[in-house]
Every structure is written in structure tokens, then in C-alpha cells.
């Protein structure tokens, strides 16, 4: 089986996994964005309520993924609350990882995914408003790029599979 975790989770990850904060969809969300895909094995859906002065009043999440993925999404909703979108844009995956007591390196992509979802949400907010603040870069950030790469990698896999005519082509790579 391929579930092999070479480094342990921190107790913080386990604690949040057990009691996630700000869980579930938000009826009156200003922005809903997601990152990842079921085929990748992790997906985060982020709901933001943005109020006066572009400040995040509330954030909630749903998550399909491992314990670290759920914990990363949960801690993000706590950190982002009360921040302006400009401040929220500065949240790094490393910061999330540190807040979670240090994710094992193999789980870094969980906090990258969470930050990727947040950055997408911020872009979507300004896109909907039809403006682009000067602090919002046009080019994708490394987090956004990595999320997109993961999503596209799996799409390419299924396109290649379609060409081979099923999961049982000769010499399929593992």
C-alpha cells in the first residue's frame, strides 16, 4: 500500500483534525473558490465573507483530503479572519505549516493547496469587482502555479489513459 508517512504529524494537526474550526459551507459568502481535485486526492473549498474595506469578516471551509489537508484549511480560516485581503495575500504556506507545528515535508503541498485556494479567492473577488489593486501581481505566485500543475497533471494522466484505452495498457507505470 502506498500510505507511508515518513515523518509524524504534530499533535496540533491531530487536534485540529479532531475538532476542525469554521467547517462547512457559508450561505452568505462573498467568494467561494476551491483548489485541488478529487483525483489528486486533496481538495479545499474556501468560503470568504468580505466586508467593509475588503476585510475578511468570516471564513469557512470544506475539505476532501488527508488529516494535514483538513488541518491546513481549518487553520487558514482562523488566520485569515479580520485581515484585509491585502494582508491575507501575504499569508505563506510556510506560515500555515509553522502554525500547524511543522508539517512533514511530504505534506507541504497541503498548506500550499490552502494558500493556493486563498489566492484564487482573492483574485476572484477583485475580478468580480472589476479592479486590480497595485499590490496584486498579474503573474501567478508559486503556490498558485503548483496547485495548477497538480490539477493539470492528473488531467494529463486521464487524457493519456483515454488514448491507451483503459487502465490496463501494457507496461502502465506505477
Amino acid at each position: 500500500m502506498s500510505t507511508r508517512i515518513p515523518l509524524p504529524y504534530s499533535p496540533k494537526v491531530l487536534e485540529i483534525f479532531r475538532n476542525p474550526r469554521n467547517l462547512g459551507p457559508m450561505e452568505d459568502a462573498t467568494i467561494v473558490e476551491s483548489a485541488g481535485s478529487p483525483a489528486c486526492g486533496d481538495m479545499i473549498k474556501l468560503y470568504l465573507k468580505v466586508g467593509e474595506g475588503d476585510v475578511v469578516e468570516r471564513a469557512t471551509f470544506e475539505s476532501y483530503g488527508c488529516a494535514a489537508n483538513i488541518a491546513a484549511a481549518s487553520i487558514l480560516t482562523e488566520i485569515v479572519r479580520g485581515k484585509s485581503l491585502r494582508e491575507a495575500w501575504q499569508i505563506s504556506w510556510k506560515q500555515l505549516s509553522d502554525e500547524l507545528g511543522g508539517l512533514p515535508p511530504i505534506k507541504y503541498h497541503c498548506s500550499i493547496l490552502a494558500v493556493g485556494a486563498l489566492k484564487r479567492a482573492i483574485r476572484a473577488y477583485y475580478r468580480a469587482k472589476g479592479e486590480r489593486p497595485e499590490w496584486l501581481p498579474e503573474a501567478m505566485t508559486p503556490e498558485e502555479r503548483q496547485v495548477l500543475e497538480e490539477e493539470e497533471m492528473i488531467e494529463r494522466y486521464y487524457r493519456a489513459l483515454g488514448r491507451l484505452g483503459g487502465a490496463q495498457g501494457e507496461g502502465g507505470s506505477a
Binding site: S2, T3, I5, L14, C40, G41, Y64, C66, A167, A174
Partner: protein
């Protein structure tokens, strides 16, 4: 914080579940007291010497080593205990078979044929030998239940084929291969092709007779029969030449260097005796537990797929289920906090986004493989253990589905 300190805190946060049932016998497991007892004397009372040195503790070690070889030979229908080689794990036994044979035949190059669902300790050495010596490795596809069709296998075997390796029972989804037919097919297509079978998951569960089957090499593993970790064995038919892939002092064990794990081998011997004692009764008992578990989960949890075949064509001890809309690693953690210990074929720990190659080979989609959970049962499990799993698994799945953005709402609330 050091890794050990982190783990101490993690375990404190995890807490002690009120009840515990261990179903991860695929990856390792507990060693029953009678097996531990059989090992203890060999640590310090007798046989603690090196089995190829000429003194009493050495001869005592050699004695138990040969008792174990004779026992394993007998359980496999092999006539000569010299045909049994001990290694320090099932992985090593598979490496010895594949690398050892290809190393001895490296001048022939040619083709190595393995099934797409083999254990990685067969696939990786085959690919390693291909890289080192120029063999060509082909993977034979399997059907949606994991079976290798003899007709399909036939189309992969030709005059160039040097080695074929198809397991007796799949370690993840419990498919019991039609081994005799597969061996006959290979031998008919090319009598010079050597047939290896990884029987780690078949040994003590299905009847194996190397003479009737006609296999040339066969792997068994200690911890798969409730023996200790650190023991594997390979049956090598007389006349099949291997070259030891590891280098060092060879002694009593002529194919694998390093001092033999004599105390562990003594424990393995006891575990094999126990596994084969009342084997028929144990097999039907465990089959009953397996079906109770599978049927019970299907009745209680919606959106579950069974991976692998059902009924007689499935290993008695294997239940592999995909819980859609949840990720398997999260489910292993959630179940752990409820005292149920299982493993998953999810890719969550691997950066290459690749879940179990076995589940992909039977045509499962990634999201189906990510939600897979493997339960392995044994004669030590009680019906109450299954009852406990049937209480906790639906709760665990429901909690994670409620977190998941994918689950239909009626699923999350069920």
C-alpha cells in the same frame, strides 16, 4: 523538537481508545505469545551461536534453522529442505528470486514478465535488473478483479522470456490467481522460462504444492503468518541457479549473506505450525468474519466499492473497500482515534499523486483508490471485533464526508 519528542506528544494527543482492533496485518502485526515464547530461548539459553560455527550453541542454531527449513518444505510439498532459503524479510526473498535469477542469467538478457499487480518487491528488482543488465520488463494487465487471464499471459511469453513472476494471492485485493493454469501456460509457451510466485499472502491460507503447481520459486513471509518481522523464505527448485545479490560471508544460508536470524526463525517456525494447525477450520472461520465485515459495511455505509473478487476467489482474510468522497489517509487517522487500525491505498503521502498501483491496474479511478481501506483478518479476530468495526466505520466515514466538499448532502448526514 526531535522526531521522537514530537511522536510522544502526538501519541498523547491521540489518547488511548477504549477498545482496539488491529486490522493492518498487511503491513505488520502483533506476534502471539506462543510465538514469542518459542523465540525466547534462542536469545540467550540455546542456539544463540552462529549456525555455521562448530560449537554447541552453533549446532543448536543450525538445528532450529533446519527444523524450520524442513517444516516449510513439508508445508509446500517440497521434498528437499535445501530448497528453502531464509532471508530477513519477504521483500528480500522476492529480491533474491528476481535479482538472484536475473543476475545468474544476465548474459541471456531477454524478457521478464510480471503481472501489473505484483508487490513492489517484485516489480522494482525486475526494473532494476532491466536497467543494470538490459532485460526487458513487461507488465501483464489484469482484469477488473485483479485476475491474470492465462490466455493474456500466453501472449506475453515467448522464446526470449527468462523469468515470469505472478503472485499466488494479491496482497491488497485478495485475488487468488489460477496459479496452476498460469504455470502450465508459461511452461507450454517456453519450457525454459522460470516461474516465480510471491506466495506471501497465500501461505497458510490456500493450498500450495510446488510439485503440483510446477513453480520454480516461491516466496513466503514471516509476519504474514503472525510470525515476527525479519524473516522471509524462498523456495528454489533444485537445479534453478541463483547468484546472491547481496555480498558478504555466506554460511549455512548459501544464497543470502549475514548471520541468520535464528531466534526469529524459531518464532517463524512456531507461527507456521500454528497457521497450518486446523488450517481448514481457520480458513472457513476467517472467511466468515470477512463476509460479515464486507456485508456489514455495505449494508451500513452508502457509496462503497469492494475492490477485488468476492467469494471463493478472494483470499479468506482480505477485505478491501473504497469509501467514496473520503480520502483514505484521513480515514486511517480517524479510525485510529477510534481504536481501529487499518491502512489505505491512497496517494496522500506520495508527491507523485500516485495511489496504489494495484487499484489503478484493476481500473479504479484515482478518487476511488484514494478512498480505499484494507482490512486484513486472522484467526485471532473475534466476531465482536467485527461488530466494533461495524459500529465505528460508519461513524468515521460520516464524519469525514461531512467535512468533504464532494459528498452529496444526503450522504454526509447519513
Amino acid at each position: 523538537m526531535s522526531v521522537a519528542a514530537k511522536l510522544r506528544e502526538l501519541l498523547r494527543e491521540h489518547g488511548q481508545p477504549p477498545r482496539e482492533v488491529y486490522f493492518d496485518l498487511e503491513n505488520s502485526g502483533w506476534v502471539p505469545p506462543e510465538v514469542v515464547e518459542a523465540m525466547l530461548p534462542y536469545f540467550n539459553a540455546r542456539g544463540y551461536g552462529h549456525p555455521s560455527i562448530t560449537h554447541k550453541p552453533g549446532w543448536e542454531a543450525l538445528e532450529v534453522l533446519y527444523e524450520a527449513k524442513e517444516l516449510v518444505a513439508r508445508t509446500l510439498g517440497a521434498s528437499n529442505p535445501e530448497e528453502i532459503a531464509f532471508t530477513h524479510s519477504g521483500t528480500e526473498a522476492n529480491n533474491l528470486a528476481v535479482l538472484g535469477y536475473l543476475l545468474a542469467n544476465r548474459e541471456r538478457r531477454g524478457k521478464v514478465v510480471v503481472s501489473a499487480v505484483e508487490h513492489l518487491s517484485v516489480i522494482f528488482p525486475a526494473e532494476f535488473a532491466a536497467k543494470l543488465f538490459g532485460f526487458k520488463v513487461v507488465r501483464v494487465p489484469v482484469d477488473s478483479e485483479g485476475f491474470v487471464d492465462p490466455e493474456v499471459l500466453k501472449s506475453y511469453v515467448d522464446r526470449e522470456t527468462v523469468l515470469v513472476s505472478v503472485q499466488a494471492v494479491n496482497h491488497e485485493i485478495g485475488t487468488v490467481q489460477p496459479l496452476k493454469e498460469l504455470v502450465d501456460t508459461v511452461k507450454a509457451a517456453n519450457p525454459d522460462a522460470v516461474f516465480h510466485t510471491d506466495a506471501a499472502d497465500a501461505y497458510g491460507w490456500v493450498n500450495l504444492d510446488v510439485e503440483k503447481l510446477g513453480v520454480d520459486m516461491l516466496t513466503v513471509s514471516g509476519h504474514k503468518v503472525h510470525g515476527p518481522r525479519g524473516v522471509g523464505a524462498l523456495y528454489v527448485r533444485e537445479g534453478v541457479k541463483l547468484e546472491p545479490p547481496l555480498r558478504g560471508q555466506l554460511s549455512a544460508e548459501k544464497l543470502w549473506p549475514g548471520v541468520e536470524n535464528v531466534p526469529l526463525i524459531a518464532g517463524f517456525k512456531r507461527a507456521v505450525e500454528l497457521q497450518f494447525e486446523n488450517m481448514e477450520r481457520n480458513v472457513s472461520y476467517v472467511k466468515g468474519l470477512r463476509d460479515k465485515l464486507i456485508d456489514g459495511v455495505l449494508a451500513r455505509v452508502p457509496h462503497v466499492l469492494v475492490n477485488g473478487p468476492l467469494g471463493e476467489r478472494r483470499a479468506p482474510n482480505n477485505a478491501n473497500l473504497s469509501f467514496l468522497y473520503v480520502e483514505g489517509e484521513a480515514l486511517t487517522v480517524e479510525l485510529s482515534m477510534r481504536g481501529i487500525y487499518v491502512s489505505s491505498g491512497s496517494a496522500c503521502s506520495s508527491r507523485i499523486l500516485e495511489p496504489s498501483h494495484v487499484l489503478l491496474a484493476i481500473g479504479r479511478r484515482h478518487e476511488e483508490a484514494h478512498g480505499s481501506i484494507l482490512f486484513k483478518l486472522s484467526r485471532y479476530h473475534k466476531p465482536e471485533d467485527i461488530d466494533y468495526a461495524l459500529e465505528e466505520v460508519p461513524k468515521a466515514v460520516a464524519r469525514l464526508r461531512a467535512i468533504s466538499s464532494l459528498a452529496p448532502t444526503q450522504v454526509a448526514s447519513s
